[in-house]
């Protein structure tokens, strides 16, 4: 048995392998070993959602996942959304509704919202609120964030 773990994962569609201490979290590993700093550390306790990533297609708090547990699995981060350097429709909607302030919650918020829309392509406002509940935004932008998600879902009328 070794105190390091060799982790091979599919990261934003590319195969990657890292050798890390078995206690490292996925968040730490993304930021420090794989240089993907879009995923943010805010509380490191699963309370804020700033570190939200996809793990095998489901949104999780990467601060609560040991990277060793991601071996053989697929991870998608904020850097893996959008395509060819262009913003996704969801990201465009965030820009258009003024949903961004300091921006620190935004990568996690966008991944969480993306996951919500994959599960529920035409959500109600209540479903958006529930889906984003616990992704904290201290700048207080929930109203606009929800409007952005609804706009991305095709409710083009929401932002006048």
């Amino acid at each position: 048995m070794s105190e390091t773990a060799r982790v091979s994962l599919t990261l934003n569609g590319e195969p990657r392998t890292v050798e890390i201490g078995a206690g490292r979290t996925l968040l730490d590993t993304l930021r420090w070993e794989l240089d993907l700093t879009g995923t943010k550390e805010c509380c490191a306790a699963g309370e804020c959602g700033a570190c939200t990533v996809y793990l095998d297609g489901e949104a999780v708090n990467s601060c609560l996942v040991l990277a060793a547990e991601a071996d053989g699995r697929e991870v998608t981060t904020i850097e893996g959304l959008g395509s060819g350097g262009r913003l996704s429709r969801l990201q465009e909607a965030f820009l258009e509704t003024g949903a961004i302030q300091c921006g620190f919650c935004i990568p996690g918020m966008v991944v969480a919202a993306d996951a919500l829309l994959r599960e529920t392509p035409r959500p109600t406002l209540d479903e958006v609120l529930q889906g984003l509940s616990g992704n904290l935004c201290r700048c207080g932008g929930y109203t606009r964030i929800c409007a952005a998600v609804l706009r991305a879902a095709g409710a083009a009328d929401v932002t006048g």
């Binding site: 048995m1 306790a45 699963g46 999780v60 609560l64 969480a112 616990g134």
Partner: protein, 291 residues
Amino acid sequence: MRPFSYVPAASLEEAVGVLARHGDEAHLLAGGTSFVLLLQQGLVDPGVVVGLSSVPGLNTIERDGAGQLRIGAMATLGRIEGDPLVRDALPCLSEVVGRVATVRIRNQATIGGNLAHADPAQDPPPILLALDAVVEAIGPSGRRTIPLDSFFVDVFETALAPGEILTAVRVAAPSPAIRFATVKFLPRTVDDFATVTVAVRIDPSPDGRVADLRIALGAVAPVPLRAVAAENAIRGHVPDEALLAGAAELARDAVDPFDDVRGSADYKREMTRVWTLRALRRALAPSERVA
């Protein structure tokens, strides 16, 4: 945190073996939502961590031959929430796990981890107590089942023996006549731990009496517990408001909460009364099942 080695177990037998070899040094890892926090705050300091996510079949949800629902320990709360078998047979459980923390936590946290962690503020234990659930465990001396009623021993302490692994929780599907009500009192934010949780199960009899019932409480004592005196006050009687109010007072007297940011012990005792009464009313409300 000192360095540790991580062993993704290929089978329960391997996991039991590693635990047996390393004793106190070894720690099990289920979903990880609590474990990683404990690790980072230095509240656990293992030499070996045995991962259960690699054990095949440990997250299965199925009906067994006896018609009981068997939920594998590694089934995530999100999976349980949406599982058709659970929704059909135990909608009350689906509701309760759907209220735990956030969708991201539910995607990761497992029912086995939830129970074995024995945090008294967790949501699933009261409804599972009301459902008279049993847990299955495997250890050095083989397999056994433990009624949930005797599973929780103290804060973070269970009846699992050293080296034993919780493998599943088993619940008999209740008959459609049985009524449930569950409440989670969250006065601060929806992502808080509960100030108090209540799960009520009522088995009505055709003559209007309560043939049997269970009232289970969470977050108001070192362990999730049943309000036995309150149950006794109602069992066999035709419920009216005065009876329920009296029972709710007995529930209040049964709890032993601590002061914390969610309120003083006195406040939590009073909230136990209020929410027990409300849960009883909801469970007994005519016709529609109140969520």
